[in-house]
Amino acid sequence: MKSDITASLLQQIRNFLGNDLYDIYEEYPYPLIRINTDRLHETCRFLKEKLHFIYLNDVFGTDRFTSEDRFEVIYHLISLRDQQRFFLKVYVDEESPTLPTVTDIWKSANWNEREVYDMFGIRFHGHPDLRRMFLPEDFKYFPLRKEFPLLGVPGSLELPNTTPDHE
């Protein structure tokens, strides 16, 4: 059962986005919506400035492994004032996986977007420092993509030299 706050929140989003609001997933306990990728940045700004979602908890990607709209990126927002969670989802194409950055809205998006880039290869346009987060910078693959083998590509990550210097 949705609370009054959730219902009014969804109504405001609906008014703001109009036809660019593609889906509302009703079966989840928290509101989860999918929107037009072109309006991602202004929707994020609207959510922060008008609806008080000042806390970006997480940004994560998934690989749907479909022929079109292969990746999706999900933004997990929290409003401390309304004690409300909110999930925002956009689809990203495989051909040119690029999204506008939200680091100018929430600074905490910096490392989260780097992680999504590291794992899926989705580039964030306008990001101040888009380097790999966990893997070496010369690593050529994106490990959370479905085609990446479970045990990795042999030789792509270096093991230490087993001969000591003095021998």
């Binding site: 966990f134 479970l150 045990l151 990550l157 270096e158 093991l159 230490p160 030299n161 087993t162």
Partner: protein, 160 residues
Amino acid sequence: MSLDRVMGEGFFTTTIDALMKWGRSNAVWPMPMGLACCAIEMMAFAGPKYDAARFGSEVFRFSPRQSDVMIVAGWCTYKMSHAIRRVWDQMPDPKWCIAMGACASTGGMHRCYGVVQGVDNFLPVDVYISGCPPRPESVINAILKIQDKIREEQSLELDY
């Protein structure tokens, strides 16, 4: 004429090799390489209940230069493997290595691209301990295995 009559009372004779083995095997000081939950069991091994002091291994040396056996406790990523090898290279010879638990021995449940599938890919492991995590008794058993190994191998290299 027997030797004890030559030297008098209070002396015994042995080989230097046996003396060194006796000394080494009863003071195997571990270098704790605690990487995950196995490290908690490794601490219990050194604590009062399981009391590794009975076997001379209670002194955890946090400097590789003062330790004899490295206990790799937990799963090891490719990133960490370089640090472990560096610490291992700093340990003075003779030195031994224990791979503690399923992850350090084989990669265990971490069957993925970022985890080394067994630390024997870059370390000469002497004893593997099974279990996830192993109980402290198993670590004591591994130390005893190391002691057996020290007593069996030749401790001196004589230049004839």
